[in-house]
């Protein structure tokens, strides 16, 4: 020891510097360091070339403690500045000995990242790769996937996506959705009249989406899935019952308002009839009049009973309609695989038939009490009265347009409130109930009340489905049409556009594409602020395309520019498109004359700069565009400009038809 100290300086580096590579043993060898009672940043390490390759000769617990060096950016702990050491069992670490050749005081300087090739087995023995998960650090149980790699590639520590579970599944088996509510539609509060159908459609659409997410479990008849479906149906039935309460109240009010002129006229006819009969029998006009008055007075009690029915009728209908809605949902849950508009109409039509049926039956007794008045209107029934006066159900129809956003897609943004054809719903409701009535006992209980709707037939999800009602096919889409650009809000109307596709992937029926621009077909009018742009295909296959609009001073749509091209859209035929002009979203500042812009397709653009701001951008060379152009301004002085390309067909402009010399 004395000899040794005589020849050594005991200063790091002066007595030799020994590097080493080692492996961190499992957490259970780390003693208090792994369970919160340790001190310092110390980790046991098995060092190659110094420690044996087996745990018998040198158990993990007997390995030396290594000090861990932390980066200067991590903080030592002074003044509360600290970052914890994140080394785990099985990590391959690199370091040196503080005591040189004595090799008793190892220091860990760094760690080699794991690759996906490193086996993630449980600990078998010294220097064999093993998992960093322990019984205290369990594998992810949420939407993250277990992953023990740290590489520079797209596969390492892959995160979930901000898409719906169905869309994630469609992209690949390894894809998962961040959050199960992504893609759900929310109907927000509005004073707009007539949103009942949209509210019902939103609830049932979201319900079917939930069901879709657990379709495999349902197919496997899992008890968990069955119980979840039942629970969801109960919740949705309750919600739809609440949604239709306004509709029921409206129908009841309107029905009574419709009854007023009928009963009033009936009272007059009753008086006339009694007067005529008594006059004929007695020849006494006074007696005839008194008899007529008595006949009218006799109707006060039954009319009063009708009036007293008004406050309780809505409650009595709503108290019983929930079970019927459950029946509807149970009947369609296995059939509807694609919630198309006709399915919306039919579900709503069924509910409507149920409501009409319940109003009719609830009013049956009181209406019978005024039979003397109604005798003058042959074949009178409440059912006919409601069905022949569609304005009774005005609340059901939806009014689209205007500047108000009433629907929002979680994770995406505003959704166009599609106007619902009240006529289509009523037609479906009336026809279906006629078919059901004609079929008598041949239809199910739910059909006898809700009507013989296509959606109740298991055949409706089979391709080629035909029916007398309207052949409402609700199976998986047979062909996804190209996405549509919906332009709404902005207080204007009439604008139309179609998407321009780029970044094609695959071929034939499996070809998909991104949206790189839009062709404006109609600039519309009356816009006071830029309208919302929604890009959606009927299968909800594509996702991620986000576009904004600009308008002209006179309220027309000027441009639609894409800020995110999205992917996975079913495309139309590719078009040959070019950059036609540039939208200056932000002119930036500090730019100099002579600055130019370029894009990722190799196009160059001339910039006109005024007081450091870009005021005009002119394409210099014109090349075909196949991807979303991303413009970059090359400037040593300026920053902050945001330029977006408008795409279009330049074929005509590119051809020189005639040169006119205007000078000579």
């Amino acid at each position: 020891m004395i000899d040794e100290s005589l020849v050594k300086s005991n200063f790091v580096g002066r007595d030799g510097f020994r590097w080493w590579i080692g492996q961190i043993p499992p957490a259970n060898a780390q003693g208090g360091q792994a369970n919160g009672s340790g001190w310092g940043n110390r980790i046991k390490v098995r060092i190659m070339g110094y420690h044996p390759y087996n745990t018998v000769e040198l158990p993990d617990e007997d390995l030396p403690w290594a000090q861990v060096m932390i980066p200067t950016t991590a903080g030592s702990g002074a003044a509360n500045v600290a970052t914890d050491v994140k080394l785990k069992g099985g990590d391959t670490v690199f370091g040196f000995f503080l005591d040189g050749d004595n090799a008793q005081i190892p220091v860990i300087m760094g760690c080699f990242g794991r690759t996906s090739q490193v086996p993630s087995a449980t600990y078998k023995g010294a220097f064999q790769p093993f998992t960093g998960y322990t019984n205290k650090i369990k594998k992810p149980n949420g939407t993250l996937k277990p992953d023990q790699s740290n590489e520079q590639n797209a596969a390492t520590q892959k995160s979930p996506r901000h898409v719906s579970p169905k869309q994630a599944k469609s992209v690949g088996k390894d894809e998962v959705s961040y959050f199960s509510a992504i893609g759900d539609t929310v109907q927000v509060a509005t004073s707009k009249q007539g949103t009942t159908v949209n509210k019902i459609a939103t609830e049932i659409g979201n319900f079917l989406k939930t069901i879709e997410n657990i379709a495999d479990d349902i197919k496997a008849a899992s008890a968990w899935a069955t119980s979840l479906v039942k629970q969801q149906i109960d919740v949705i039935a309750q919600k739809v019952t609440a949604i239709i309460s306004g509709l029921v109240g409206g129908i009841v009010n309107s029905t009574f308002n419709l009854l007023i002129p009928i009963l009033k006229q009936g009272l007059k006819l009753l008086y006339d009839l009694v007067y005529k009969l008594v006059l004929a029998a007695t020849g006494n006009p006074v007696a005839a009049h008194l008899a007529g008055v008595a006949a009218q007075t006799a109707m006060v009690a039954p009319i009063s009973i009708l009036q007293k029915l008004i406050p309780s009728l809505v409650d009595s209908i709503l108290n019983t309609i929930s079970d019927f809605i459950k029946d509807i949902l149970n009947s369609v849950v296995d059939n509807i695989q694609n919630f198309v508009q006709c399915a919306v109409n039919q579900v709503t039509g069924s509910v409507l038939n149920g409501v009409i049926g319940k109003i009719t039956s609830a009013m049956e007794g009181p209406i019978a009490g005024v039979a003397n008045i109604l005798q003058f209107f042959g074949g009178f029934s409440i059912d006919n009265l409601i069905r022949s006066n569609p304005e009774v159900m005005a609340e059901i129809g939806s009014i689209s347009g205007g500047g108000e956003v009433v629907q929002w897609v979680i994770g995406k943004g505003p959704k166009e409130d599609q106007g619902v054809s009240f006529g289509d719903i009523m037609k479906a409701a009336n026809t279906a109930i006629s078919i059901a009535n004609a079929a008598g006992t041949a239809v199910s209980a739910v059909q006898s009340i809700g009507g013989a709707m296509d959606i109740f037939s298991s055949d409706s999800s089979s391709p080629g489905f035909k029916s007398a009602l309207g052949s409402c096919y609700v199976g998986p889409p047979l062909k996804c049409g190209a996405p549509k650009i919906k332009i709404f809000g902005g207080s204007g109307s009439g604008a139309q556009a179609k998407p321009i596709f780029g970044s094609f992937v695959g071929s034939g029926a499996n070809q998909t594409a991104s949206i790189i621009g839009a062709t404006i077909l109609n600039a519309g009018s009356g816009y006071t602020f830029p309208p919302f742009i929604e890009i959606v295909d009927e299968c909800n296959q594509g996702y991620g395309a986000v576009a904004y609009s600009t308008i002209t001073d006179d309220g027309k749509l000027k441009s639609i520019y894409v800020v995110s091209e999205g992917e996975n859209y079913p495309p139309d035929e590719p078009e040959e498109v070019y950059v036609t002009d540039i939208e200056i979203i932000d002119p930036g500042e500090g730019y100099s004359p002579g600055d130019i812009a370029t894009d990722n397709d190799g196009n160059e653009y001339k910039l006109d700069v005024d007081n450091g701001r870009i005021i005009k951008v002119t394409p210099l060379n014109i090349k075909k565009v196949t991807n979303l152009p991303v413009l970059t301004v090359e400037s040593e002085t300026g920053s902050g400009a945001i330029l977006k390309a408008n795409l279009g067909d330049l074929t005509l402009q590119r051809e020189v038809k005639q040169v006119i010399d205007c000078i000579t």
Binding site: I137, K138, P140, N141, G142, T143, L144, D147, N153, A154, Q157, S159, R161, H162, V163, Y178, V186, V188, S191, V235, K239, A242, G246, G249, F256, N257, I260, L263, K264, L267, K268, L273, V274, G292, A295, Q296, A298, V300, A301, I303, S304, Q307, K308, I310, P311, L318, G411, K412, G413, S503, V505, N510, T512, Q541, G544, V546, V563, S564, N568, N627
Partner: protein, 190 residues
């Protein structure tokens, strides 16, 4: 079904810090989402699989998702006359929606709803207004319509409208259709 071509996905810009199986910060991940690619995402998950995410996507939507409840508590040390929480929509609507069968509840010593223009109260079923003190309706025109009830003008009740122009005694009609109808029956056959 396909993603964009790989060369068009900007993986060069992505950085992440994964803090274990329960928490992650992922920035500029070029995976496409519903509102474009992610600018950043903070992800956390509980042992019970409840996830919490907040992040910004390239389309501009900032998201806060949580499987469980979210608390916003502020002002514990503020003066009682100040404002503890401010929620502002600078241009568009501010909407609150309780889905499924939830309610939107507001409780305070005093509740003020201040509308520059219209205030619409819409109830699909009952609209209940209850006051321990006075109820004051003040407007240049105040109307009430309905077919039944003690606020409905006598002439507007269902029965009054039906019997308008009939020969039935007015007192009887008033009694029947405004303040309750005495139990009697008139039997007439013809």
């Amino acid at each position: 079904m396909a993603q964009r071509p790989f060369e068009q996905q900007n993986w060069q810009q992505r950085t992440f810090q994964s803090f274990g199986p329960k928490f992650r910060l992922d920035m500029a991940n070029p995976q496409m989402g519903l509102n474009g690619t992610d600018v950043y995402n903070l992800y956390a998950v509980t042992d019970s699989k409840n996830v919490c995410i907040n992040g910004l996507s390239e389309g501009g939507v900032y998201k806060i998702y949580n499987d469980g409840p979210i608390e916003f508590v502020a002002g514990q040390k503020n003066s009682s006359s100040g404002i503890d929480i401010v929620i502002v929509g600078k241009n568009g609507d501010v909407t609150i929606t309780a889905e499924k069968n939830g309610s939107v509840k507001i409780r305070a010593k005093k509740v003020v709803i201040d509308a520059d223009e219209n205030l619409d109260l819409i109830a699909g079923k009952d609209l209940n207004i209850k006051s321990g003190g006075k109820i004051s309706l003040n407007g240049n025109t105040v109307n009430c319509t309905g077919l039944e009830g003690n606020l409905v003008p006598d002439a507007m009740t269902f029965g009054s409208q039906v019997f308008e122009g009939s020969f039935v005694d007015a007192d009887l009609l008033t009694s029947a259709f405004t303040g309750g109808f005495p139990a009697f029956s008139v039997d007439i056959s013809f």
